[in-house]
């Protein structure tokens, strides 16, 4: 049985060419495996590379060396060696990435921001919008805001729109980067329920969570990247 994510000998170093070639090492030889349907929390000190690890899996950061194998449509897919258009296909159907930051697009309504990943997969506009509205109500965005562009929304509302967007497409693998940071207790609980639903559907979850109680609630185990050799 292949793993959902299998990372071997991962090295990542940032080289700042315009600052005297300063080298910032992040990982040197990281190894970890995450099974299909598992839910794991990445833990470690601030600055140890928790978010970087998620970005490496998503392909936003380029690994210096090593391999990141992801189960994609039944086959093993190495993100490190993949061509850009292959990573785009991985993102369309396999990996969802949820942060607390919404990238606002001028003139695009909240419901269409959420519907976009569904439209990218070929869902019809009406159906995608219905799903989007359902999700927006689940993350407590009032109906009067659905047809407005989120640019003018509060920080917490934008964050919840982004979370709704991240959960819309039911990705088999979800990368969650502090999805509940700075949300109040009620809205945190709503997001936790979305994560539990994704787990129940069989999605694999790799998350960074600030609160220990959240980790305990939605994760099977923790991966401490501070324990791995730097």
């Amino acid at each position: 049985m292949p793993q959902a994510v299998s990372i071997q000998n991962l090295q990542k170093e940032f080289i700042l060419h315009n600052q005297g070639g300063t080298r910032i090492p992040v990982f040197s030889g990281l190894e970890t495996e995450i099974g299909v349907g598992e839910s794991v929390a990445i833990v470690g000190q601030s600055g140890q590379g928790k978010s970087s690890l998620l970005k490496l899996i998503f392909g936003t950061y380029q690994a210096t060396s090593g391999s990141i194998n992801v189960l994609h449509q039944g086959a093993i897919f190495n993100v490190v060696a993949a061509a850009p258009h292959e990573i785009l296909s991985l993102r369309r159907s396999t990996i969802g990435y949820v942060t607390q930051f919404l990238r606002c697009i001028p003139r695009v309504a909240a419901e269409d921001v959420v519907a976009e990943p569904l439209r990218d997969r070929g869902m019809a506009l009406d159906e995608a919008r219905n799903e989007a509205r359902e999700l927006l109500s689940r993350v407590n965005i009032p109906e009067r805001l659905w047809h407005l562009p989120p640019m003018t929304f509060s920080g917490g509302e934008q964050q919840r729109v982004n979370i709704a967007r991240g959960f819309a497409a039911h990705f088999p693998l979800l990368l969650l980067d502090e999805p509940t940071a700075s949300l109040d207790a009620e809205n945190r609980a709503r997001v936790m329920t979305l994560i539990e639903d994704a787990r129940a559907r069989g999605s694999t979850i790799i998350g960074v969570f600030h609160h220990a109680d959240e980790r305990h609630r939605v994760c099977d185990r923790e991966i401490d990247i501070g324990q791995q050799a730097k």
Partner: protein
């Protein structure tokens, strides 16, 4: 995804001056590729070579046509290139006046492209023109007006709709939002995003504006002094640029 265009070892000199040096990349169906770099980096020259508007000195531009055949744009006859540019390809100029016929009405600008591919039925041409004006948010009541009476944003939308009327598969765009007010630019970007999704268009977009590239493109090529410095996913280039020049370019953007 199928490969639409494959550019190999493309070079262009102006006399002794090297404008594009050994450029290579592939474009897939429905992809939006941004070519970024400062003025003089060769990005517009590259686009004009791709469109067959400038002959390159070296290299191949292989296009996989709708009929399944592969054409090398560099070797193709002028007639083949011209036919492609008015059917399966579109070209959007930075200055809409270069892409429109300013002496005839908006409707005629759209109809001209249909007539060029053999449509002679006035009613059909007229209704297509109305449909495409509507698609780019131009009121039908302005169909008989000259583009001279249009604002900059409207002219740019008219230029885009003129290209779209033949259902192209590939659009080449040279700074399409350059010189427009930000509010007008936002509307145009929104329109372009919708068109790319709904029509499955592939786009090669030349821009010096990284925010525009981020909004529209999934892949990016960074050029400097006629060379490709780096290419990759748009978010990867913007968040983890590898090369000194791309790092400089990304770090020079003002945060709003």
């Amino acid at each position: 995804m199928k490969k639409l265009l494959s550019v190999q070892q493309l070079s262009k000199f102006f006399g002794e001056q090297l404008a594009c040096d050994d450029i290579g990349f592939d474009l897939y169906e429905g992809e939006v590729l941004a070519i970024v770099g400062e003025s003089g980096s060769g990005k517009t020259t590259l686009l004009r070579c791709l469109a067959g508007l400038l002959p390159p000195n070296h290299g191949r531009i292989l296009y996989h046509g709708k009929d399944g055949r592969q054409v090398d744009i560099v070797l193709a006859s002028e007639a083949v290139r011209r036919n492609l540019l008015r059917t399966e390809w579109g070209f959007v100029h930075q200055d809409a006046r270069d892409g429109l016929r300013m002496g005839v009405s908006a409707g005629a600008n759209i109809g001209e492209r249909l007539m060029a591919i053999g449509d002679r039925h006035y009613g059909h041409i007229r209704s297509s023109a109305e449909q495409w004006l509507g698609r780019v948010d131009i009121p039908i009541s302005r169909i008989d007006d000259s583009p001279w009476t249009y604002s900059g944003g409207m002219r740019q939308r008219l230029q885009i709709s003129r290209n779209l009327v033949t259902a192209p598969r590939l659009m080449l765009m040279d700074e399409p939002t350059g010189g427009l007010d930000v509010s007008v630019q936002a509307r145009l970007l929104d329109l372009m995003r919708g068109l790319v999704r709904d029509l499955g268009l592939a786009v090669i977009l030349v821009t010096h504006d990284l925010a525009v590239a981020r909004l529209l493109s999934s892949r990016m090529i960074v050029m400097q002094n006629g060379r490709v410095v780096e290419q990759g996913l748009t978010d990867q280039i913007l968040e983890d640029p590898q090369q000194p020049y791309s790092q400089l370019l990304v770090s020079s953007v003002l945060q709003v």
